[in-house]
Amino acid sequence: MLKTAMMDPLNRKQFLKLSALASGSIFIPKFLHGLGKSITPLAAESGKTLIVIQLSGGNDGLNTFIPFKNDLYYNLRPSLSYQSSAVLKVTSEMAFNPGMGAMQKIFDQGDMGIINNIGYPNPDHSHFRSMDIWTTASGSDQYFDTGWLGRYLDAQCNPCEHTHVAIEVDDTLSAALKGASAKGLAISNPERLYRVTRDPFIRQLSEGSNASANATSSRSYLYKTLTETSDSVEYVYDKSKIYKSTVQYPTNKFGNDLKLIAELICSGSETKVYYISLSGFDTHARQKQVHERLLTTLSEGLYAIITDLKKNNQFDQTMIMAFSEFGRRAKQNASEGTDHGEANNLLLFGGALKQKGFINELPDLNDLSQFNLKYGVDFRSVYATLLSKWLNADDQKIIGSTFEKMKFI
């Protein structure tokens, strides 16, 4: 097997060859060079941050927030319901799933808001299409090429020089963060990606003379993307080294991902939007155990990051939203699970929340559509509220039509 410098970024001989070719810029100490200078004190950057959590697969809202005094709930779910003795009661009629002990603490601290009956008209029961609708903020009869946060990037920074304005903690980029000209940065392990962009060959190309060209031609668009990627990855890598959290996060991928987000926020990263996913919510069979475990992962992760952000005085500047592509059917199926449904709950967390607890009316189990919860609040109202009142952006332009703003901010 052949080996080349590209396989091993530290291959000295090849590196020296490249260095001889390169412009002098490679030898300029990093702190004098472009982005390297922005090593700021902890949390020096003010400004608001949004964290979006995508719960993939369709979270069962009705077994997340349980109406433990409602007979209809027990009728619809003879073997999938939770008895009132088992649930975590938070109000006189509502309780949390037993797996959500950590989230109950958040609720009790007054750091959480729950929107009920979230959805959109003519709901689609396909994961793929419904997630497409949520990520692009389209109607169920519209098809958009770009994501809602991608369009936020398009609108906010034109031209966007740094992809780290929106970060998805993952290897690949979700449609939600792809705009027409601007796109977010997908990064799951800053050090690893940094090593990739520091590969001598890639570095030579990203720092070459092509880099500064305007992105009018396809070729210059590619070079511009490469240069922005290298710069942003370096920026994120540098930031990720500044603040190391001492808060105990759950030892799973979701916990690690949230920890990275907290570290970047507390290090004063310029990032406005973070995006992260937790999947496995498609609970058609033997739901209880799987669902509880997922809700525990979610709750413990959230409890950790909220603790972390509070400790660093960042929680008032951070808004967290968790959504799922649809809720599940109110009536259980024959396999101890639930099938694809319609309306659901949407979760909000933040020190600046103006409305807390259960923000709007609870789902009406008397008024179902083929055993599905009916939607009452369009999810694009939540987006519009976050865009205009939190991120200071033109929600109408970004979403493409007007949606009533809510009062939680």
């Binding site: 052949l2 080349t4 697969g57 994961h127 009869d141 992809t163 590619l222 999947s279």
Partner: protein, 466 residues
Amino acid sequence: MISDQQKVQHLYWRMGFGPPLRSVSEFSLKEDISILFSNSKNKTPLTLHDWDPVLAKEFRNMTTEDKAAYRKQERQARIQINQDILDRFVNSKESLREKMTFFWMGHFACRIANPVFIVKYFNTINSLALGKFDVLLKAMIRNASLLQYLNNNQNRKSSPNENFARELMELFTLGIGNYTEQDVKEGARALTGWGFDRFGEFVIRKEHHDTGNKKFLGKEGNFDGDDLAGIILSKPQCAHFITKKIYKFFVNDVPDEKIVQDLSTKFFNSGYDVELLIQNIVSSEWFYSEENTGTKIKSPLELMAGMIRNFNIKFENPATPIQLQKVLGQLLFDPPNVAGWPGGRNWIDSSSLLYRMRMPEMLLQEAESIMAPKESFDNLETLKTDQASGQGKKIKTTFDDSGFAKLFNENDNIKSTTAIMNFLLQSPAQKEKIDLILKLTSEDKGRERIFKTAIYTMSLPEYQLC
């Protein structure tokens, strides 16, 4: 100036999945055009092997273990289909037919999980890809996968579902603004009862079909799906809509309205002859102009097919190409929605660009994979595979560089480096890139130098273009 060599390569990139491994001295634009069309007269159906579907009823009665085993077989059948199609894109002599099929799969975009349905869908499109569009359209209105994806099995006289009728006009034929909401409603009525059975065969459920009078796009009558197609096809706007989409896919993301209008008039007057439309494109001068050459961003499948062909790459794990398609954002039979893959700059973001640039090393030098695809939403339908190409894993391949190497002179470094780059790149390599690669390979000799030169060249951003 676009050289004759580049023109021939352009032809093969746009009307196929890249040029064959042939000596440049054998290239002749006129002859290559003629070969392209004559080879694609042939049709080769895709076959489903080693898998027999069971009826839903039988499936329900299976034990949990048997169900799991059956699901596994079904996944393997999907992997096999994916592999067979990729192989056609790489090797088939009917490359124009395959490319046209690829286009129509993005046009009649459809997510399909059932292997029997996939094969029927593919073969319908493949066999009609270069014929008359009206025949293809009428066949697609009767296609089980499309009917299923657009909920037409739920379209009944008692409760019409407008999804199919809407997309038929918005995305498949006319484009938004050329019909009214009333046309959607009436069109949906004409399609009531049009469905499919579990074998993927088209059926009309008479009891659910609305036989009443319908008013559709200015015409009135007791219409059904075929009538809708006929009425739509009588509108020149339909020819324009299809022509423009074909132009954007094969020629340039930014359409030249004058050329599109001219092509579209001829397309309409020919009775929607797709092959003639493609003939008109490839026999023009503008097709080979500077602004149309080396300016399109390759789709993930075009990118993969080109690399695989050059080095006859074989994957140890047959699921690896599926993982690559997922990471790069284009898994066959899994478009983002019924509008298909947006294409163009949408293919490129920070991570997909880095992944594309590392692919030559990952496939040919056992470099570690830098990214893993996202987890799927569901547990049932998904094209689950093992994490063969996950982050930090190595992709196991075998390959043969002899076919590529013999096209180039092993001794004259400067000349052959330039020749290799001219063969691999449609966006001309600048001198600084040639110098860079010459420098990086200066200590390598003979075939190894050719191999490394190719790897570096395929790792350039320029290689993402065709």
